[in-house]
Symmetry: C2
Subunit: 385 residues, 2 copies
């Protein structure tokens, strides 16, 4: 096991009706800004429930945080925060709304141009407004971590920052609040969580037995429950297991003390920024091909993955690895996400531009051993066509 | 999955040499009381390392916190805290030193007689001194939870309290600091952690797939690594896995959203209070017999346990349960802990007194369904002879 520090102070309020209890977590007298996305939380009643729970606070609203939340939109919220002396942020939505709210929390108290929080070698965040979340789309784990990914449309850039100051103080996880999600978002969420786990698991062994077994527990749960959620979106138990799995997939726990990869995400971010693919679509395209290209470096863990996740306990190791990668792709397809660039109308001609963007964003040595150079990324993209 | 709230803010500093970093976690200007047990941390150099790391602080020492820390001893430390205006506590040791320090942290700021924190239906703790820990004996999980068990010798009482105010701010987990532990303490630690997991796992199913798999991951790790630690106490990887397993066994995570038992612990506490057995010895004696007596109520999870932990995948269910209980007992014996009351010189004549104590401490309906009445506890004790 590698050395690590692990701290995660977010208070998880899990279960039916937990929105009603958030008052206990927000200081009275707070001026609360409620942030959300395109309005689905308005239609399905979640927002009403939130406002009812916040009776007595001075409330403000900011809507329109888009998927892949943009710097341009978020800076409007920062203006509102300043104008109205907001002192608590409540994100109601999925990873985009929560990531966006984290950026707003940090930007509102930042000295200087907030974009510098995100630029390569970004300026560290020293303080942020307190925030909570009501999660409606289990996927990114943002509700229980201190990371955030923001897009700047004008630069076609999608960049991340992390700061312990943007851990949500609390997050409500009510599985019933996910019942009205479109199937596409269920699919995206499951695949996103799955790849989060894989990025922290399929590297090289460091004899971290617990982290491995926890990661495997999450993968097995996602594989078992994901397709069921598509078949029966109102199965509370299925939704509960998926919701808790996606939170634990990226709350720092399974990644503590082990090598991490994240190249699939980094390459995927460029695909979203340039071609507008959903985040999970990019992961479903890139991951199987990355595993193929990096199979030597990941060999031991790939064999473990083949055995413990897909039950390939016997036979030639290379064949078992082939079969495990194949099963991974098939799982994404079973979750109704296409796994080829060509499925999204992206051809060979896009690859030089993608490579250029990776270079511009400093993504020139990715992966757990920094062996994924631009050349390797190009190979992965070519194999993904 | 059941509803739950989960919050655990302790900062874990895991790895070789992490003691040197604790200064970052303790406010400068603090008047720090360093608390420890019988002096082994003095002999093996851990205490010197702690003092070196705390260079520049105003330091005080309190030694002599005993296994099953006593109210009588701890109140002396409370006096010292008041006399010297101590404002930070640093526990250096195992679960007893840490539990004791939690009580001191709460008692020092408590209005009224601190024993009332522990009495049945105890007075809630409203504040506590901040504290950190340097863990030297992985076992109880106290380094990353908000519970504490205290003994009052004069009353032969061993009682617990919990409060979010006594979460350690940080805990150093350096596996090398466990190299000099006596074998008996290694054994005790592994068995204690094992039973912590079982108390949160072997109840009845609520379709909490992740909690089950995490619990199973911890059990398998303890079974694999425990005996290795007895054979080769200086294997860093073995010690790392055991250390992290015992912390995660009782930090609230695997118990969130599932029923919990804890009857083995409650009955065991009476054995320690009356007969002085090590905590883990009491667990090794009681657990297998509790599983036997409660096998109907725990049937489904016992079958899952037989399959996933002991590999009994086929055959008659009752035989598989028998075999799993038998393997559990054998594992404790492989960890060199005896599993019969008679091994400790305790006979039938002690049972009425134990029953009386259980009654006096309100332990009249134990277990995940409150079905372990005094009659059932007596049966378990009789079967444990």
């Amino acid at each position: 096991m590698l050395d690590f520090n692990f701290k995660n102070p977010t208070n998880i309020l899990f279960g039916k009706g937990k929105i009603a209890t958030i008052k206990e977590c927000i200081p009275s007298e707070s001026r609360v800004l409620v942030l959300y996305g395109g309005g689905s939380v308005k239609k399905n009643g979640t927002l009403d429930e939130v406002f009812a729970a916040l009776h007595g606070y001075t409330l403000f609203e900011f809507s329109g945080i888009e998927p892949n939340p943009s710097y341009e939109t978020l800076m409007k919220a920062v203006e509102l925060v300043h104008k109205e002396s907001i002192d608590f942020l409540l994100a109601v939505g999925g990873g985009s709304v929560i990531d966006g709210t984290k950026f707003i929390a940090a930007a509102a108290l930042f000295e200087g141009e907030p974009w510098s929080i995100l630029e390569k070698g970004g300026t560290p965040v020293k303080k942020a407004l307190p925030m909570g979340t009501v999660l409606t789309l289990p996927a990114t784990g943002s509700e229980m971590n201190c990371g955030s990914v923001i897009t700047r449309k004008s630069l076609q850039a999608k960049l991340a920052f992390m700061s312990p100051h943007v851990f949500p103080l609390f997050s409500v996880l009510d599985p019933e609040k996910t019942y009205t999600l479109p199937l596409r978002q269920i699919s995206n969420g499951v695949v996103d969580a799955f790849v989060h786990v894989v990025e922290q698991y399929l590297t090289y062994p460091v004899n971290a037995k617990i982290q491995d077994r926890f990661a495997e527990g999450l993968l097995l749960t996602l594989i078992e429950e994901g397709p069921k959620a598509l078949e029966n979106p109102k199965d509370y138990e299925v939704r509960s297991n998926l919701m808790w799995a996606s939170t634990l997939a990226l709350n720092g726990l399974i990644g503590a003390g082990v090598p991490q990869d994240w190249a699939t995400h980094m390459i995927g971010h460029e695909l979203t920024a340039m071609h507008g693919l959903d985040h999970a679509q990019t992961l479903a395209v890139i991951l199987p091909n990355l595993l193929e290209v990096c199979r030597q470096g990941k060999r031991e863990k790939l064999i473990q993955y083949a055995e413990r996740i897909w039950g390939f306990n016997e036979g030639d190791n290379d064949q078992r690895i082939d079969a495990a990668i194949d099963q991974t792709r098939k799982f994404f397809e079973r979750m109704q996400i296409k796994t080829r660039l060509s499925d999204y109308g992206i051809g060979t001609d896009s690859i030089p531009d993608l490579e250029e963007k990776l270079k511009a964003h400093g993504m020139i040595r990715l992966g757990e051993r920094q062996e994924i150079t631009l050349d390797v990324s190009r190979k992965i993209l070519e194999l993904s066509l």
